[in-house]
Amino acid sequence: MDQQSDILVLREGDGFVETPYIRELTNRAVSYIKAGFPVNLSGPAGVGKTTLALHIAAQFGRPAVLMCGDYEHETSDLIGGLNGYHRKFMRDNFIRSVLKTDETMTQHWADDRLTTACQHGFTLVYDEFTRSRPEANNVLLSVLEERILILPEARQDGSYLKVHPDFRAIFTSNPEEYAGVQKSQDALRDRMVTIEVGNFDEETEIAITHNKSKLSPETCGRVVSLVRRVREAKSNKLTPTVRACIMISKILNLTGEAAPAGNDAFRQTCLDVLLPEVPNHERGRVRQLIDDTIVSCS
């Protein structure tokens, strides 16, 4: 076995914001993990689940291994498989009248991320695990409960691997009604603690937008206020998320606009970012709302 996965050393970037809301969420997740239960951060797209998962993983001070769910994934994409072979041929003719040949061929096993994490005690961050087919995640059942990883016999170093005591798992997922999301196994969801992550409070959204876009806090406040009003006006209150605030603010910062009233460029940017997520029958109302909010913010 001569091929192993790379590992991630996590560092908090300058753009990461830790408000009391995020700190409370992080502390809750860390306490669940320390109690021995993996955590699943479930919520809509763009609320910061992956960043939060990485932040939680960084609290343990151990390297991490990041995996993303994929419909094409099989169990071998999690644990590893046979990869290449080694052929050895020996010809012995030391004694002139005797010719001896010996040929052997062995296949190589390459561990993948889950096996590496279980073996060395790293933190596994499995992003969007419900996008993988349920049968691909079967191997996690024994890892999370019995703390043993069952591997194929083809692995030369043993087919039962005891999970390292420092191994931890953090999952993220979208709600099941999202496109491309599979129904996860009841047995797997039963083994983890699910924390619903929704949209952040206004203070957190303004802080995140300001950190990511480097715009002034006042302008970020106007952008966040606009996005929150659009979110409230929609029937589906999951989108737009803080990602939309960051998008609008970064574009404003790049173009040098300051979000004043009557600014067509700012209005058009808001329409481009916010309107595609709105169903057709609500677009007129949302467009009017954006115009009214821009005027009222001046």
Binding site: S5, D6, L8, V9, R11, L54, P63, R96, H120
Partner: protein
């Protein structure tokens, strides 16, 4: 009058032994002078292919034999080194044991360094490549 001294007697000094003859250019005998060149060729300079092949094989075999002798001599020397290291370690341990026994009987403090702590495999030793990720 002709001298009657025995001047033509050849003693052992004059007669060359086979040792004297060996290594020097071959002496041409009377019979050899009249032989044709092909006949007078000796086995030291064979020209036919089969003999050359046999000679080459023998040379190769001798070289292989000498190699194996050299290898086994190296192995012998290395095993002697290992044995010497074991012996010196055992001597040092015996000496330490005697010191400890003496200290126990005579109640004398003997300082000795503790065994080195078992090192946990570091990430560098595990051979995994690390990638920095800023979130």
């Amino acid at each position: 009058m002709e001298s009657e001294a025995l001047t033509k007697i050849r003693t052992m000094r004059q007669i060359k032994s086979s040792l004297d003859v060996a290594g020097r250019p071959r002496v041409k005998t009377t019979n050899g002078l009249s032989k044709a060149p092909a006949q007078s060729e000796s086995a030291d300079h064979p020209k036919d292919g089969l003999t050359m092949q046999v000679l080459a094989k023998e040379k190769a075999r001798t070289a292989a034999y000498e190699n194996s002798v050299k290898k086994s001599r190296q192995r012998l020397l290395s095993s002697r080194d290992r044995l010497a290291a074991i012996i010196s370690r055992n001597l040092a341990l015996t000496e330490l044991r005697h010191d400890l026994q003496r200290s126990r009987y005579q109640k004398v403090e003997v300082t000795c360094s503790p065994a080195p702590a078992a090192q946990k495999e570091t990430l560098a030793q595990s051979g995994l490549r690390q990638v920095d990720l800023e979130y």
